[in-house]
Symmetry: C2
Subunit: 378 residues, 2 copies
């Protein structure tokens, strides 16, 4: 509920009933008007362009009507209602964090002390709340396990179907992760793999990876996940200049292990939004290409930062380890969480299937579940 | 061919036979060593991590051997050959452009004077050179037409099969672009659409869009494409501060027109790499959400820049227009090139099918064709 609304030139000032005050610009309000001539009823899309709004738009009048804001815009003479709750949700007249390397609201970073979040196969199929909790864990922590699933090839595609769409690549709709004789990728050997994000040579990288276990009787072959955002923040704390170097210069990645495939990218190991929020981490020793975008006189410091970032990632205090049993799987947010595996021996067998999926599909499904179950929101 | 190689502390200096001189650091050379213990023969992936390389790595000896560089690293006592051509290709001891908003090498920006690049359906199926030219046009200009294709539903999927993989979304593997009674998206009406990039509410956005024409006898319904990178550079020239505002603050985009779909993103309209190279443009009046990440005292200037950017995009001097005939299609690089359509009337019919595909698949197929046809490289 609004208590007062006033205007002065192109600025509207409102006071909420709790005494909080905030300001909006006439052009911003006009562009975001919620009336059916501005926004299509139903699909909610904007029907006008910025060019349709007079450049000299200003406020002719403001009133509080039923606790909401009524604004009349000039020269259009158009009157629009803005609900008080909508204004509170979209207020931009505020201090904002400026520290480079902060995480988006709603994310929780973690280290080895985290109990791995997870859910049960049957529950996420039967109970929308269980499904919501599972997807919310991926959004908050960047990974989640799923236990109790069928031990069946292609079951991982049913995991993807729960929230979105498989992203097909040169590796197929899904790929077999087991020892091959002439591997096109070191993932298809028994070697241990340092914690890494997948396919940094792709742009964009796959947003999510699902790894689904069908056999795991070999010695070793444990899974380890590491929060790349926590690692980046630790680097920032230990070596701010090194953090700035990894965030401030593109790295290069490349893969051309199969016929007809030649993937190359030019992206930083630590990606920030223009306002400093952490967007993504890319880290993969196997597919790092020669870095050629760092000035000569910064290269040694860049390598020092890279070495330090790697040491943080390899630090056992950072990783959460678990061994997948047949029928178990996990999802990682490949823009944030690195995954590793310990080496495994020829005794017994290890067979996983992996696929990629889009992160926006998962977040969309989660947001729609949250809208449908508002009472469950924390 | 190298003429000389010397070292001093951790730096190796080489002189090519044309007299050019460049320097490399010991740690960089060691990390990028090409020997089979460092790089897996076959798939080319690196077998060691940065932590496997001694932190005190330095150069014990350098020699020119058969025109190539031989380096012995200490304390490992490891000797590795670096071909002269490889060193020339990966030299980083150079001045690099610093201007924000420059385009990557190999891109050509354009305006309405451009003759739309295109290729013929049969040619790209039969002739690898024609296919290569067609894909190279997408890489260089951000769009290309394809004419002479079959007038058959789902033919667009065969276009995607030529270079990569469809990216399935909530709109399906592909979607119908024609007038609907209760449209979930304004694209499915006869309205004109301002030039836009698709799905900026998705993160990452679809890298490529294919629009394939099956019927187009309606009045209007012309296609227009605009080079978003050229538009960004024009904004930079006309209003450098406005360019910096659009590049320096995240915008917001949102779509929730269908049940169970709630897509939101927080990305700038003009995205730059950390070193200022243009990465992407996002522009869509229909799905822009309220911008809340711009400081209050910059919001008016931000909107002024947004209005100016829109006016540049709408300027007829910027757009290349064509009318698709049945069996014709075009690909747009949705991270760079905006597309528009003029409104069309109920007389006659207009039916397009659209789908998304990944840009990295196209660029990989192109790079592999270039490696296979080196003599054709310009």
């Amino acid at each position: 509920m609004l208590r007062t609304a006033t205007h002065s030139g192109p600025v509207v000032t409102v006071t909420f009933d709790d005494g909080a005050t905030t300001r909006f610009h006439a052009i911003w309000l006009r562009d975001n008007a919620l009336d059916p001539e501005t926004r299509a009823p139903g699909n909610g899309q904007r029907l006008i362009t910025i060019g349709d709004i007079p450049a000299d738009t200003t406020v002719g009048n403001t009133r509080v009507v039923g606790g909401d804001l009524e604004v009349t815009f000039q020269p259009e003479g158009k009157t629009v209602i803005f609900p008080a709750g909508w204004l509170a949700d979209h207020a931009y007249d505020r201090d904002r964090p400026k520290d480079a390397g902060r995480t988006a609201p709603g994310l929780t970073t973690w280290d080895s002390a985290l109990a791995p979040p997870g859910a049960d196969w049957n529950a996420v199929h039967a109970d929308p709340r269980a499904k919501r909790g599972w997807l919310a864990a991926v959004a908050e922590f960047g990974f989640a396990r799923l236990t109790g699933g069928p031990v069946e090839p292609e079951a991982l595609l049913r995991v993807a179907d729960l929230f979105g769409y498989v992203r097909e690549t040169n590796y197929g709709r899904y790929f077999e992760v087991r020892t091959e004789v002439n591997p096109t990728n070191l993932a298809y050997t028994g070697l241990g793999l340092q914690a890494h994000t997948d396919n940094p040579y792709r742009d964009p990288v796959p947003g999510l990876q699902i790894l689904y276990c069908l056999e795991n009787s070999a010695e070793g072959g444990d899974s380890i996940v590491v929060d790349g955002f926590r690692a980046a923040q630790r680097l920032r704390a230990e070596n701010p200049e090194g953090f700035a170097l990894l965030a401030g210069h593109p790295a290069r990645f490349e893969y051309s292990g199969s016929d007809g495939v030649c993937l190359r990218s030019r992206r930083p190991m630590i990606e920030l939004a223009p306002d400093g929020e952490l967007v993504a981490v890319r880290f993969n020793n196997r597919s790092s290409a020669p870095f050629v975008d760092i000035p000569f006189d910064r290269m040694e410091a860049y390598y020092q930062a890279y070495r330090q970032f790697a040491a943080i990632i390899d630090d056992p205090a950072m990783g959460v380890a678990f061994k997948l049993e047949p029928g178990e799987s996990f999802i990682v947010d490949n823009t944030r969480v690195l995954h590793a595996r310990t080496g495994y021996s020829g005794a017994g067998s290890r067979w996983l299937q992996g696929c990629y999926a889009d992160r926006d599909g998962l977040l969309s499904t989660l947001a729609a579940l949250e809208l449908a179950q508002p009472e469950a929101a924390e």
